[in-house]
Amino acid sequence: MSQDKLIVAGREFNSRLIIGTGKYKDYAQNAAALEAAGSDMVTVAVRRVNISDPNAPMLADFIDPVKTTYLPNTAGCFTGEDAVRTLRLAREAGGWDLVKLEVLSNVHLYPDMEETLKSLKLLVADGFDVMVYCTDDPVYCQKLQDAGAAAIMPLAAPIGSGLGLLNPTNIRLVREAVSVPVIVDAGLGIASEAAAAMEIGCDGIIANTAIAGAKDPIGMAQAFKHAVIAGRQAYLAGRMPRKAYAEPSSPVEGTI
């Protein structure tokens, strides 16, 4: 499967699993989870430097941005303007154009699709490659693609809930409605759900709380690594048809 790479905005990634960098015990555990997950992209947040303690440990000391692609997000931005302003700083800080847009609402942190689409247009005009966190509404997902999204990232369930893939039918409709990569982001709780999402034909998975919030984050990172590979291979292999009744798997003739 080595040639089956994830390609976003012309960039190639070996792993279809993207992990977050929030909620870990510390950056060391985060780095170990990254190693176990085999990911080559992590989501990161943009925040003010702590002026009073400039020597606090920094993410870059544990996860090398040269070896691992940082995907700056706009978590905490509730308007398009904030999102654009945040990502312009992120671009200057990191020197790259690939970003994750998430404009959340105060309704269960669900993405605000109206503000998201508005922000996307500003960012695209500003030269960004934008991976967009969104709902599983296939119509809006298509609007995002038409506006230039580099990847469509519908939620599986409310962020951090671990409720799993709540609406596989909508994810299928989204998959069919767009041609850019579809990456399921937010809401997964355990590995098999990531496999199930990939089996629908999704191109990748983002997991943060499911891994960081497990009793053993390193083990769960390995589990997600294998689950994403399993789901991808199952999708490519093509599943057997479902049958309403049993069929023998051993020959019926020749018994003694």
Binding site: G20, T21, G22, K23, Y24, Y27, N30, T43, V44, A45, V46, R47, R48, V49, I51, P54, N55, M58, L59, A60, P65, Y70, P72, N73, A75, R85, R88, L89, A90, R91, E92, A93, G94, I159, G160, A186, N208, T209
Partner: protein, 67 residues
Amino acid sequence: MHLIINGKDYDDIPDGLTVTGLIGYLKLPERKIAIERNLAVVPKSSYDDLVLENHDELEIIHFIGGG
């Protein structure tokens, strides 16, 4: 001079500091940070030349863990 950095007031900043000067003055580690001055991103290329002015509003950010 007086600067507003990350939303806080700093009244005793030496006058005439460049961005590079300020980074040194604040002992910010030589790491990936970015600076916004009065709502405009400051290109790294201009850190040496850009002289900060009284009452400038600065945002100094970096990457931290996030989902």
